[in-house]
């Protein structure tokens, strides 16, 4: 058994876009943020100008509790580039606030990943500007 670790060195660094500045500000501060629609209440992610549910343009950045469950995952054994040491486990996590985030799972063996596994966010800095969210098993549900 070997625990999956975040891959942080030599990986491509995100270039912050105009609509995602509050998101990356949040991760630097240890907060996971998403946009909540003022009109219909839907959670919206990724960052945008319009609610994807009701087309309202009144969205408010909100802090997520950073907890959710594994919706889907893959375990990679042939890396994208050599910077990504295998195995690593990209996943879609469904946050409790009702949106999906593409991330990677860490802090568990790849064989322990299962549908609906409760996970919580943990942050890892890869550059002065960019701190990435990863997800590990939620200690409250172990």
């Amino acid at each position: 058994m070997s625990r999956l670790e975040p891959r942080l060195l030599g990986i491509p660094v995100p270039r912050i876009g105009p609509e995602s500045v509050p998101y990356w500000e949040g991760t630097r501060l240890g907060e996971l943020r998403f946009q909540r629609c003022d009109a219909c209440g839907a959670a919206n992610f990724g960052p945008g100008l319009v609610c994807r549910k009701c087309r309202s343009r009144d969205l408010t950045w909100t802090r997520s509790a950073g907890r959710g469950e594994v919706f889907s995952w893959t375990v990679i054994w042939r890396p994208q580039t050599p910077a990504f040491e295998v195995p690593y486990a990209p996943a879609i996590v469904r946050l409790d606030e009702g949106y999906d985030l593409l991330t990677a799972l860490v802090g568990l063996d790849h064989a322990e990943i299962s549908d609906g596994l409760r996970v919580c966010v943990e942050f890892h800095e890869i550059s002065p500007e960019i701190t990435l969210p990863f997800f590990a098993p939620d200690p409250e549900h172990r």
């Binding site: 995952w73 893959t74 990679i76 054994w77 994208q80 593409l102």
Partner: protein
């Protein structure tokens, strides 16, 4: 036929595919350029159709501007640079609107794969929200496949059966890049190295180089040309937006329809069935896009060949193999025939459909095939294009 456009004769029925051509396809084609492959493909498709290159009045696809100048064709109708089936549809639209009569669709890919230590550059997502997690196309499609396996119990053996079937079609095809590299059993697929779980190496498409072209013209004119015309009975495309920039979630839904991203292509298929007045039972051969083995199972469900969750059992029942009810991807597809860049291998699904309906396949010819459904794209890419071909002018 009533006034309802959806049930009357569809404008696509005025269009026929008159010529097709594949250049040599290989893992590498040293000395070839994009332009050299496109030129060869244009001449080849025109010769196949029996039309003079000088009669081309529109070019669609990759490299149309360079070809227009270098072949001395101007003025031609200024056209588009779509990829795959949408490029073929652009050609059809130019014909149905009377803007052009002899339209050539072109595609080629060469010199794109230079680093064997990494995945192909165009498979790596660059969006800020996903770029740092080491994804590539196989990973994105795996996230879709995993969800189907969770929901319906679809198994690695079912995926492997798809891959073995398609790779064996390529194994016997003399023009396939991986000709003679089989035969494969499902066990062989499962024994190959894991790439992006649940996809083993042999569940995935290959990469190669090559080009192709296709000549479209008016159906009435096609009847007087060199080949038996193949008619477009219907065509449509579905998209859930930009691929590889968001979580490829099976459940992604817009408000316009209840179809989830996992069943992208379902709405397009329903459009094609309306345009043609046909359904899955009328289809003789399925030239489906095969980026990953699971996508065949998914498309069989999305397009209505079986119910949700029934695709895995359908492929185990022999339906997709030689002599089966719906033989799939009969030249070996992207897993074995060729996968040359971003458009060639998509056009080649329709080229193979034309070969089947001409009865001209040297291998895996489906006896008496009269209707072929061709597709491009897939769930991980958030799009699906369909084109239904027939031997009879509707």
């Amino acid at each position: 036929m009533g006034a309802d456009r959806n049930r009357g004769p569809h404008p696509y029925h005025e269009v026929a595919i008159a010529g097709i051509y594949n250049t040599r396809q290989a893992r590498r084609l040293p000395g070839e350029t994009m332009h050299s492959l496109l030129v060869e493909a244009v001449f080849g498709a025109c010769a196949d159709a029996g039309v003079d290159v000088g009669s081309i009045d529109a070019l669609v696809g990759q490299g149309p501007a360079e070809l227009t100048y270098d072949l001395g064709l101007g003025p031609v109708t200024r056209a588009f640079s779509n990829l795959g089936i949408p490029a073929i549809r652009d050609a059809a639209h130019l014909i149905t609107t009377g803007e052009a009569t002899t339209v050539v669709v072109t595609a080629a890919g060469v010199g794109m794969l230079l680093d064997d230590g990494a995945t192909a550059p165009w498979t790596r997502p660059t969006n800020e929200l996903v770029v740092a997690y080491g994804l590539f196309t196989a990973a994105e499609f795996a996230l879709m496949a995993r969800r189907h396996m969770i929901t319906h119990g679809t198994t690695p053996e079912q995926l492997a059966t798809v891959a073995a079937t398609i790779r064996n079609n390529g194994h016997v095809h003399p023009g396939a890049v991986y000709s003679g590299r089989g035969p494969f059993t499902a066990s062989d697929i499962l024994a190959s190295p894991m790439i992006a779980d649940p996809f083993h190496l042999l569940d995935c498409s290959t990469t190669s180089e090559g080009g192709c072209a296709m000549v479209l013209t008016r159906a009435d004119r096609a009847a007087d040309l060199a080949q038996r015309p193949v008619h477009i009975l219907g065509s449509a495309s579905d998209s859930f937006g930009a691929a590889y920039s968001q979580a490829p979630s099976w459940d992604l839904r817009g408000s316009g329809d209840d179809v989830p991203a996992g069943y992208v292509g379902r709405r397009a298929a329903q459009t094609v069935w309306r345009q043609s007045g046909l359904g899955p039972d009328d289809v003789d051969v399925c030239e489906f896009y095969d980026p990953f083995s699971f996508e065949i199972i998914r498309q069989l469900e999305a397009f209505g060949f079986c119910g949700e969750g029934e695709g895995g059992q359908l492929v185990m029942d022999g339906a997709i193999g030689p002599g089966g009810r719906w033989p799939i991807t009969t030249d070996g597809g992207t897993m074995s025939f060729s996968h040359a860049g971003i458009s060639t291998q998509q056009i080649q699904r329709v080229i193979r459909g034309v070969e089947q309906l001409r009865g001209a396949c040297s291998t895996m010819q489906v006896a008496g095939a009269e209707v072929a459904l061709c597709s491009n794209g897939g769930s991980g890419a958030l799009f699906n294009d369909l084109m239904l071909l027939g031997v009879e002018r509707p």
